[in-house]
Amino acid sequence: MTADLIGLIVGTLLTLLVLSYILGDNPLYRLALHLLVGATVGYGVAVTTVTVLQTVLPALQSNSPDRIRVLIPVILGILLLFKGFPRWSAWGNFSTALLVGVGAAVAVGGALVGTVIPQTAAVGSLNAWLRGGSAGLINGLIAMIGTVGAVLAFAFAVPRQPTLRRLWNGSVGVLGQVGRLFLLAAFGAAFGTALTASLTVLIGRVYSVVIGIQKIIAAIGMGGG
């Protein structure tokens, strides 16, 4: 029996184990899920470790200034491993702090420059609407009302003063309700797209099971008598 044939049998079996979920949650599906988590984590750690070693080791072995630049994060990384031991876990705070600080700054920079500013600018781009004629103008206005409404749908705070509250409910509240419909339109579209994509993958897997079984039968000599 060749390695490819064993692989084909293993792959087909694993696919069937996962697909058994269609009959309901069962031990075979749970077994497949634990296999998936174990295999994925082991693979990810191996790739990460080798990538880091290939980046860090050449720099550490050289006599260039790069050595110090690599040594600091390696020391911080080793300190982070102390988080696994409750008694010394405080030593890992420095590394976590650097990760959190840099992560927060990257997130703030990305959110500001990559999302909030360009998306807000695109909401009121009158020139782009006018390029599409009167239909473009109407579509642009619908998109603008939808976007503003969708943002306001997340405004949960309400003024305490009764007059302001009535004003708030009459403006922000109504726009928020309209925005919720636009959000649902977006979720529905995302749902349809995700369903199409996952159906394509599912059909591919079912097809591969059929082909796999045919190949296994042919290989072990049961096909065609």
């Binding site: 296999l35 702090a97 600080g101 998306q119 579509n139 636009f182 959000l183 339109a185 529905g188 369903l195």
Partner: protein
Amino acid sequence: MDRLVKRILPTSVAVGTGLLVLLGYLLPIPLLASVRDELVRWAVIIAAFAFILGFFNLLRVHSGRARKPGGIYSAILILTALVSLGLTLAALLLPSLRFLGDWWFRYVLSPLQATVAGLIAFVLAVAAFRLLRHRREAGVLVFLVAALVVLLGTLPLPAPAGNGLVSLRTWWMNVPAMAGMRGLLIGVGLGTLLVGLRVLIGADRPYSD
């Protein structure tokens, strides 16, 4: 001393590095940009160690569960993780054993991941059915109409109905769905800004023990 190691120094590191990276993004100064790139490179290396720490934590948690009744799944998870780690490391470090890693990826990882991704179709269909059965309101109708427009617009139906559905799908994706998604993105962006700024001014300290 304890307070210094546990709180003051880590907060200074987080706020200091965070502000340097943020200024590197916002100000067009080459020195700040190079400091930003260096700090991000450090964070990537430290994140790799965090991943390894997470792996050992997973093994520790599941080795505790494996000893309890019904812990067979945890034992299988540990065994699979170690086999996967060993085979992939061997394949990456020793070119002569590359075929082992390729076999593992092709016949174990790839079928498992692809089938779980495919199973999402089933889960989504069941969720839509339950939604339709339990909640009958205007919002649900909009959701289902949107899903139907996208699904029918994707089908290769003959003209003129097919062309009409494709046009409707294109309009729906470019106007109402885009507006909703843009609003959602701006909301998420504003939320990210707020959470990030709280960390950068030291109001939130998720790194302190």
